[in-house]
């Protein structure tokens, strides 16, 4: 069973979570160029590596950030948006 660490509720089965897409810092819509904004909205390089992603713990309604290596599917850290990464949980082998 794959597990994920919710920063509010602890380690739970992956079936309790929904993937919310890649997290990327939004450029200032008033100050960015059209190219920067179009890149933010549309461009994904899809290169495997460590990505920040939105995840959602559905029983508690908690949105949080997971740093995940998309090549190995290893989750390196989970934390609430705006907080520092505090938990580094490896899935049991």
């Amino acid at each position: 069973m794959k597990l994920l660490n919710c920063p509010m509720n602890g380690v739970r089965p992956l079936s309790e979570f929904l993937f919310g897409g890649e997290f990327r810092e939004m450029p200032n819509p008033d100050a960015s160029t059209d190219l920067e904004w179009a890149s933010y909205v549309h461009y994904r390089d899809n290169a495997p590596g460590i990505k920040k992603e939105w995840w959602y713990h559905s029983p508690s309604g908690t949105w949080f950030i997971a740093e995940r290596n998309t090549l190995t599917d290893e989750v390196l850290a989970t934390y609430l948006h705006g907080n520092s990464p505090v938990s580094k949980v490896k899935e049991p082998s």
């Binding site: 509010m8 509720n9 029983p59 508690s60 908690t62």
Partner: protein, 221 residues
């Protein structure tokens, strides 16, 4: 004039078994399903009771705890915990800044909380609650929960006043463990629209394990 009668979210599953119905907190609820002796026997083994009729009040926001405290309601100091916030009233802290207040059979606190005025309150927002709520008790209760929930819900794995938000039978639910008249029982809340489904699942497994549905009267005798 049309008169609306508030029914429990699991009312449709009750029609087939025709329980004795009564009113509690303004809602029609099952008082008993079978004879007193049968329900008492079920209570020893594994009993499922519908307590969706208990009055509830939900509130969230950075000032939610302050507002409840101002109304004389105690709140848990840590996240995902519960306390008896007033006599016969449970207060669950759901995450960081959301609270569920629920009167028990004799509780009266929620009535006063309906005075909440959004226009004059900042930092706290009322949350509409439409839960189906159940009490599970009996010596087989952990066997039932182990069939429906992936978490270890034994005493050793769960703080005594902890709140667990997880999936039960595949749907989102909130659980606590409490002592009721000296008996350790489990409380489950889920969205009311899932109430009939969860009731069916719980009572079906309860019957397999030698128990069954128990009405409000037997549960609180």
């Amino acid at each position: 004039m049309t008169i609306f009668i508030k029914t429990t979210p699991v009312a449709y599953t009750h029609y087939a078994v025709q329980p004795r119905i009564g009113m509690h907190h303004g809602m029609e609820i099952a008082l008993s399903f079978e004879g007193d002796s049968t329900e008492k026997a079920h209570k020893q083994v594994l009993a499922v009771t519908d307590v969706s009729c208990f009055a509830r009040f939900g509130i969230k926001g950075p000032k939610a705890a302050d507002w409840l405290n101002q109304q004389g309601i105690k709140t848990p100091e840590v996240m995902n915990a519960w306390v008896e916030g007033a006599p016969n009233t449970l207060v669950l802290r759901l995450g960081g800044s959301e609270f569920l207040v629920e009167d028990q059979a004799q509780g009266k606190a929620c009535e006063a909380l309906t005075s909440f005025d959004q226009a004059s309150t900042t930092g706290a927002y009322q949350v509409a609650r439409s839960d189906a709520a159940f009490i599970l008790g009996g010596r087989e209760v952990l066997n039932l929960l182990s069939e429906l929930c992936m978490l270890d819900l034994r005493d050793s794995a769960w703080p005594s006043h902890g709140v667990v938000m997880t999936q039960v039978a595949g749907i989102s639910a909130t659980l606590i463990r409490e002592s009721l008249a000296g008996e350790q029982v489990y409380r489950i809340w889920c969205d009311g629209t899932y109430g009939s489904y969860l009731w069916e699942v719980l009572t079906e497994i309860a019957q397999e394990l030698g128990g069954g549905a128990v009405g409000l009267i037997c549960r609180f005798q």
